[in-house]
């Protein structure tokens, strides 16, 4: 049992990460990142490889996006729950979240290059085709359809006058009861005829178009309110704007507190984080719906957002553990972070290992059990052939092995062991993301189950995004103190006892 530590014993301005210490690593990351990015750009320029590369890029992008998203989530959660333990590591969470604005840069290929997004999200091309085809059809068929309609009205008029005269003659000798019945019949016939001949029923370009689109692809037509290019672009930008605002606001508060130590900033961060959480939930859900679920626009699952969130929180906690250990090995944060912090981070990882398993099992299980055609496609693709090996691997290695490992207290409190588990978790998250994105590639591009040789693209894209982001992340670590040095809860955090 160690003695009570006081904040007074800590350096007043916190610890600053000296990036010169790691300049070699930074240089390496930068050069590797730039080289691989150029290689990726070259591939993107090649018409033939562009579509294949698009999937590689999405896989790389989404992996790092979920990590950064997790950084934001932990920051929000820490503030919102008024938590004390995590103050010492909160700056790391904020720094991880701060990668979100940068990720927009890496998302640019999806916005800028039409072929890239077209290859990934087939609904875009199909929708464009559907609309143009319907327009052509409407333009060429307006006359014939109008003629047909006029013919129909003519026929109906003849029939109607016949019916009317028949009814009227019948009325003359009808009993009052029969009269009422005949009147009713006449009214109905009149209404039907009026509806047919009214201006609204006349075929227009719009009505023919809509009808034709419905005929050619009812699913895509019905989803048009969500799956259309204008709204898609708007959402794409909105996600990044919102996420950037959230993380910059919270980190800004935190950094300003480093200077003045104002308690009110903690209170404000807490209040705002509570309000931000719903926003975060909505953005996360729809971002992954847009980018991953819509890889096949016919498939859907209400659990999708939660599933991605679970993996995101889990793997970003693993990243935090690794970064923390790295910094401690370099000599930082030694007085602030203890094994007790590792213990809690380990426990949170354990909780999210279980949560991830719970969510993914529920999603798989319900779809497997009900066995409805429109839902099973996703798992049919991934639970047959070689992808099934990956699926089973995920079950065993993403859940059972880390679950059993983290069951022991020793693993959670020993930084070395916890780092091993974290590395394992990140590897599994890579496989998880790969398993979500890549199986769609072969069938979508009409190249069988797997596009041969494409794995090199995947590795290349992953290296490019990873190296550059790591470079930016390490540099951003050096900007401010590595822990919120004037947070009123810092003393509580460094004296953490489990």
């Amino acid at each position: 049992m160690s003695a009570h530590k006081s904040v007074k014993d800590l350096p007043e301005d916190g610890e600053k990460f000296d990036i010169k210490k790691v300049s070699k690593l930074l240089g390496m990351l930068f050069s590797v990142g730039i080289l691989t990015t150029i290689a990726c750009a070259v591939i993107f320029l090649n018409q033939e490889w562009r579509a294949t590369m698009a999937y590689s890029w999405l896989f790389a992008f989404i992996f790092f996006f979920t990590l950064a998203l997790g950084g934001l989530f932990w920051t929000l959660l820490h503030n919102a729950t008024n938590s004390g333990w995590g103050v010492a590591v909160r700056r790391l969470m904020e720094n991880l979240g701060l990668m979100l604005p940068w990720l927009f840069v890496f998302a640019l290929p999806f916005v800028v290059i039409p072929d890239v997004r077209g290859a990934l999200w087939e609904w875009m091309g199909e929708r464009r085709e559907m609309i143009s085809e319907a327009e052509d059809y409407a333009a060429s068929h307006l006359e014939t359809e109008t003629a047909e309609w006029e013919e129909k009205v003519r026929e109906a008029r003849a029939r109607f006058s016949e019916v009317r005269s028949g009814i009227e003659s019948g009325m003359a000798k009808a009993t009052p009861g029969e009269k009422a019945f005949l009147q009713e019949k006449l009214d109905a016939e009149t209404a039907a005829f009026d509806a047919l001949k009214s201006e609204d029923a006349a075929p227009t370009v719009e009505s023919i178009k809509a009808h034709h689109m419905k005929e050619s692809n009812v699913l895509l037509y019905n989803k048009g309110g969500f799956l259309n290019m204008g709204f898609w672009f708007f959402r794409f930008i909105a996600y990044f704007v919102i996420l950037t605002l959230l993380i910059r606001f919270l980190r800004g508060l935190s950094v300003r507190q480093d200077a003045d130590g104002d308690e009110k900033r903690t209170m404000l961060a807490r209040r705002m984080s509570c309000g931000f959480l719903p926003l975060f939930a909505v953005v996360t859900t729809f971002a992954v719906i847009d980018w991953l679920m819509c890889l096949d626009y016919t498939w859907f699952s209400t659990m999708w957002g939660v599933y991605l969130f679970a993996g995101s929180a889990l793997s970003s906690m693993a990243v935090l553990v690794l970064v923390l250990t790295y910094l401690r090995n370099l000599g930082y944060l030694r007085d602030v972070v203890t094994e007790e912090h590792y213990h809690i981070m380990g426990k949170l990882m354990h909780a999210f290992v279980i949560f991830w398993a719970y969510i993914s099992f529920s999603q798989y299980f319900l779809i497997w059990y009900a066995n409805i055609t429109e839902e099973t496609r996703f798992f049919l693709m991934r639970n047959t052939g070689h992808w099934n090996t990956v699926s089973i691997l995920l079950v065993v290695c993403h859940f059972f092995i880390p679950f059993l490992a983290l069951l022991q207290k020793r693993v959670k409190t020993t930084p070395r062991l916890l780092c091993a588990v974290s590395l394992w978790m990140i590897a599994m998250h890579i496989i998880d993301m790969y398993w979500i994105v890549i199986p769609e590639r072969g069938p979508s591009l009409g190249a069988g189950v797997v596009v041969p040789g494409a794995i090199f693209f995947d590795v290349l894209a992953f290296t490019a995004v990873g190296a550059l982001l790591a470079y930016i992340f390490l540099r951003s670590l050096g900007k401010d103190s590595l822990y919120p040095c004037r947070d009123p809860r810092l003393e509580e955090s460094i004296n953490l006892m489990n």
Partner: protein, 469 residues
């Protein structure tokens, strides 16, 4: 940790700045805590106890009558029939099972998260859990019709040479609910042992001492015992946490594994769990706010507790809201005609649209008032929202079960369901039974975990005062 003389009035105003609030107000001593909590059991009950107990007893009698009437006359006295074969019975089952989730949640999850404010409310919440699960169990057992055959659900060899269908969600339910009940009893009882010892040590020799002494197992509070006890308690908490999640997930499987529109959706398990916690916390507050006033426990169950629980209600209510919205979105987005029709029927054109709006208002809109501190600190507002939530969660189950069954695939098979007086009285009767059990619990067992509350006092830290020199 600053701990001046915070009084209830000051606590009303909420925390000043970032300082941590004390969990026990007015600097109470350990002896005061023992006296106050054990006093509830040892002293004469206040008049209000009898005023509440007698009607509860009467309602419990009504429950017994309804069940006897049901069994003696036949299940036809309930309103369920084709196509709505589940009706109120299963609505009530899911409702009560949901209520029963907060207790173990408070005990287990908050314990794991080192949320020490749980100590003042966990005992009562666990007791509530048990009684709620008992109430829940009544419905499926009698719903099977020939309830004396209910033992067929147990996987034991019998002369029929057949086995249960382990692929059926209903059988999982049997396992989940009975496991949950047993584990909750163990958890509750284990927590009670040291407190029973406290009462035992205060009793004069006699029948009371005999009973409390027997159930206290001869507890002596030695650290060599506490060591295993604490580990066991921690393990039970760790086991109960996924158990709580699993129970309502399995209940949700009853619906979600089917292909019925409005039932089959992948978000059901976490959505049901959040809803259960939501409803359970509302019920805990509904019971504890009056109880703390009647027995003068304001220093132990403080505004901080109410405030925290209100926040959990806000959080879980919002998660439930998220699920409602996702369901609607995917029903539209998924493009399945039957699914979108089912939701169209729920919110626009079906016979039960009012229920949907009641549900949405009670569960999603009403808790949003808890964004404001004044609302969380006004007990009347808190009580009002809790009542809303209690009702809203019942509506939710009704909406899920009845609207879907009344309007499934083929219009020719559509129907309308109306509960009979027997169903309504049975449901009312379970409230009587529930309250009766709870009042008896207040009368005979320590309503707050005596030992655990002492453990959160500042002077219970062996290093308390180490710095002051």
């Amino acid at each position: 940790m600053p701990n001046g003389t915070t009084t209830a009035d000051e606590a009303m105003k909420g925390p000043q700045g970032v300082a941590r609030e004390p969990l026990v107000l007015n600097n109470r001593s350990m002896n005061w805590i023992t006296e106050r909590i054990c006093g509830v059991v040892e002293n004469r009950q206040p008049l209000l106890w009898w005023v509440l107990f007698l009607p509860s007893l009467a309602l419990a009698g009504l429950l017994a009558f309804c069940l006897v009437y049901l069994v003696s006359t036949g299940v036809g006295v309930w309103g369920n029939n084709q196509p709505v074969a589940w009706g109120w019975a299963i609505t009530n089952f899911v409702f009560w099972i949901g209520i029963g989730h907060a207790g173990t949640l408070i005990s287990a999850i908050l314990f794991l998260m080192r949320q020490r404010w749980r100590t003042s409310i966990n005992r009562a919440a666990e007791a509530m859990t048990l009684f709620a699960v008992m109430c829940a169990g009544i419905f499926p057992v009698f719903h099977v019709g020939r309830f004396w055959m209910a033992w067929f659900l147990a996987p034991i060899p019998n002369a029929n040479a057949i086995w249960q269908n382990f692929k059926s969600p209903l059988l999982w339910d049997v396992f989940a609910v009975s496991t949950y009940f047993i584990v909750s009893v163990i958890f509750w009882y284990l927590g009670l042992v040291p407190d029973l010892a406290t009462i035992r040590d205060r009793c004069k020799p006699g029948i009371k001492k005999l009973l409390y002494g027997m159930f206290a197992l001869g507890w002596r509070g030695g650290n060599r015992h506490w060591r295993h006890y604490e580990m066991g308690y921690l393990l039970l908490a760790a086991l109960s946490t996924p158990l709580v999640l699993s129970v309502h997930s399995v209940v949700s499987f009853d619906f979600a594994t089917s292909v019925v529109p409005g039932w089959h959706t992948t978000i059901f398990p976490p959505y049901f769990v959040a809803g259960a916690i939501f409803g359970g916390f509302a019920m805990v507050l509904t019971l504890m706010i009056p109880a703390r006033a009647i027995y003068g426990l304001q220093d132990l169950i403080t505004h901080k507790h109410v405030d925290n629980m209100a926040k959990i209600i806000l959080l879980t209510g919002s998660i439930v809201g998220y699920a409602y919205i996702m369901e609607l979105f995917i029903a539209w987005y998924g493009g399945n005609k039957f699914e979108s029709d089912a939701f169209h029927m729920r919110i626009l054109s079906g016979p039960y649209t009012t229920y949907y709006y009641c549900m949405f208002f009670c569960n999603v809109i009403s808790p949003q008032i808890f964004w404001f501190r004044w609302a969380r600190h006004n007990l009347w507002v808190v009580m009002a929202v809790c009542m809303c939530v209690n009702a809203g969660m019942w509506f939710e189950r009704f909406v899920i079960i009845v609207t879907t069954l009344a309007r499934d695939f083929v219009p020719g098979a559509w129907g309308f369901y109306k509960a009979t007086w027997v169903e309504k009285s049975t449901f009312l009767g379970t409230f009587g039974f529930f309250l009766m059990c709870f009042l008896l619990f207040l009368r005979f067992l320590p309503v707050i975990a005596v030992g655990e509350v002492k453990g959160v006092l500042p002077e219970s830290n062996p290093h308390h005062g180490d710095d002051e020199h």
